[in-house]
């Protein structure tokens, strides 16, 4: 493996947030993320002033909010003039005149000690009051993360939901031909910036998944003679094989505390779900049915595991206790259900459903109720949740050009290509970075 080190050293210079002047919690503008017919909120984000990077920084904030589908950043060409002091109250009438409901102003300064200070204010234009005033301090090279943190703060204030912009995505970058495929693990910021390969393409790779702290990835490698599960530390670039098995091993996924990996192993054609303790490498078998049992995913409280099994005759979703007891089928609709993934808030399970020649990404409650299909195409597959449980990333192949990454929100209303133009599959979303 080539040098796979992804430098997160800048993280060490912690992002420091200071709440400066928080307004009373009487926000009049609120985006209801559950409502299917919500119009995106018109928000004015005039280019931040100060340090040379300030304008780029506010561009990143604007792009994050726009891509969420919940905000409509307004055209800066019509903006009224703005004073250079973020502490001064804006002329709200002038911002009403350009139809802004929210206004985000900011100033970025380079400190004498080499730090970057980003100071911003979020204003409710119609109520004429400040909703948020914060300052982030970081190293200059971390300016994109500062922008994502500002976007998260705005998103959180106006939707009441945690943001998801200061995150990364790992996935399989696909190249080569269908006959001679090349697959490399690649990691990037959720907005597509800072892409970096983690493997060199000398072997096929599949299904990377983050640990809870997003510093480790477990994935499957396929070589002509068999498969291997790996644990890869993206800080150090070191990786280790997760044991040796006589048959195929695949479908690895971390437990919520990152101390275990649940996966599938095959013996003499029978695939079951196992769990490995990463400290001791002790392996426990969780299913014993002669059917296919695969794609396990822990509940966020680690008490249960959802998986897919064809023990009932076709692939369906089942939930069991984390020790393998108390197995219950939860999917009962027509069609074939696979790749269940528990949402980070525990309230939903996303899955792939195959029905009538089409593939769908759907969600249901952990008891199987309220199934909703969010997407449909020739081949949609492999959902992964944003850490706020509001957005799902998945891969879509329309039947020819190869797979690409797409996002959809849990309402199913906001479907969009992910910011990665090349062929890709098996995405996994990190938790919020620290």
């Amino acid at each position: 493996m080539r040098s796979c080190k992804v430098v997160l050293a800048a993280l060490a210079a912690a992002l420091v947030a200071n709440l400066t002047a928080v307004a009373p919690a009487s926000a009049e503008i609120v985006i209801n993320v559950d409502q299917g017919d919500t119009q995106p909120l018109p928000i004015a984000i005039p280019s931040f002033g100060g340090a040379p990077v300030a304008g780029q920084l506010s561009d990143v904030v604007t792009a994050d909010l726009k891509r969420s589908g919940l905000f409509r950043p307004l055209d800066a060409g019509a903006f009224p003039p703005l004073g250079s002091d973020v502490n001064l109250q804006p002329q709200f009438d002038a911002w009403k005149a350009v139809s802004a409901q929210a206004l985000l102003t900011g100033h970025v300064a380079a400190d004498g000690d080499g730090h970057l200070r980003a100071d911003f204010r979020l204003w409710d234009v119609y109520a004429g009051e400040q909703l948020l005033g914060m300052e982030f301090t970081s190293t200059p090279q971390n300016w994109r993360r500062v922008a994502h943190k500002i976007a998260d703060a705005v998103y959180e204030k106006l939707t009441g939901e945690q943001g998801y912009f200061d995150t990364r995505v790992v996935f399989v970058a696909e190249s080569g031909t269908r006959a001679k495929p090349v697959r490399r693990l690649e990691i990037m910021d959720q907005d597509g910036a800072n892409p970096s390969y983690l493997t060199d393409g000398s072997y096929l790779v599949f299904t990377p998944r983050f640990s809870a702290n997003s510093q480790e990835i477990t994935y499957m490698a396929l070589r002509p003679t068999g498969s291997t599960l790996y644990l890869l530390n993206i800080d150090t670039g070191r990786q280790e094989a997760l044991g040796h098995f006589p048959g195929m091993v695949f479908a690895p996924r971390f437990s919520p505390d990152g101390r275990k990996v649940v996966f599938s192993a095959e013996k003499a054609g029978d695939t079951d779900v196992y769990v490995m303790d990463l400290a001791s490498h002790a392996v426990a078998r969780l299913t014993t049915d002669p059917a296919i049992d695969t794609s396990p995913s822990f509940s966020p409280d680690a008490g249960r595991v959802v998986f897919n099994s064809d023990r009932g005759g076709s692939p369906q979703l089942y939930v069991m206790n984390a020790d393998g007891s108390n197995v219950n089928r939860i999917s009962f609709g027509s069609g074939r259900y696979t790749t269940p993934v528990w949402s980070p808030d525990g309230k939903l399970i996303a899955f792939t459903k195959q029905e009538g020649g089409q593939f769908h990404i759907g969600v249901m409650r952990p008891d199987g109720s309220n199934e909703r299909l969010l997407t449909s195409s020739y081949l949609d597959e492999g959902p992964t949740w944003a850490p706020n449980s509001r957005v799902i990333l998945f891969s879509r192949d329309t039947g020819g050009p190869g797979a690409h990454l797409w996002t959809v929100d849990v309402s199913g209303r906001l479907l969009a290509p992910a910011p990665y133009a090349l062929r890709a599959s098996d995405p996994a979303w990190s938790s919020l970075l620290r």
């Binding site: 599949f206 054609g269 064809d310 696979t338 492999g382």
Partner: protein
């Protein structure tokens, strides 16, 4: 069905080839000056141009006990129905030939690669491909082949033998592919 692995299709090709040779032989040869023949260099010496130059296939009679002998005279592929892994009657006929061939060459080892079509999700298909590879393995063992001569692997939907898109490709890609891993050259 993969045409190139069907005995009927192969027989038809032989007949076609014979017919075209006969047609050439009966055509009157034009008389005239004989041009000096320039030897055609092997294709791998051709000047580099756009596009890859594929190495030509081996021709002629295969070495007995070789990988090519196995492919031509035993048949290396058996097919399955959608989401199934039972060995069909048609597959059994091919596997009986494989078993007989392998009995003739006891030093040969094989790897059975289970494959699926792309109409399923990745992880499920790794499991399904493993079922297919093991169904073939079990059948060969039931025909007297030592399990120590057989490895199995599943490529799921990741290594399709037919890289086109559609129902025909899907039916080709639901297979178990027997590969000779240790054989006469």
């Amino acid at each position: 069905m993969n045409l190139f692995h069907s005995p009927t299709a192969r027989a038809a090709l032989v007949i076609l080839a014979a017919a075209s040779m006969a047609a050439c032989a009966s055509r009157p040869k034009p008389m005239g000056p004989v041009a000096t023949a320039t030897p055609t260099p092997p294709s791998r010496y051709a000047a580099p141009g756009p596009g890859a130059v594929e190495e030509s296939q081996e021709t002629g009679a295969p070495t007995p006990g070789s990988s090519r002998d196995f492919v031509i005279n035993a048949g290396d592929l058996v097919y399955f129905a959608f989401d199934r892994f039972n060995v069909t009657d048609e597959a059994r006929a091919v596997l009986d030939t494989q078993a007989a061939w392998l009995a003739r060459y006891p030093a040969v080892h094989v790897r059975i690669e289970g494959n699926t079509d792309e109409r399923g999700t990745r992880e499920y298909n790794f499991a399904l491909g493993a079922r297919r590879a093991n169904a073939v393995r079990d059948y060969l063992v039931s025909k007297g082949l030592s399990p120590s001569r057989i490895d199995t692997v599943s490529y799921g939907k990741e290594r399709p033998i037919d890289t086109s898109v559609g129902d025909a490709a899907d039916s080709h890609n639901r297979n178990a592919h027997t590969i000779v891993t240790d054989a006469a050259r």
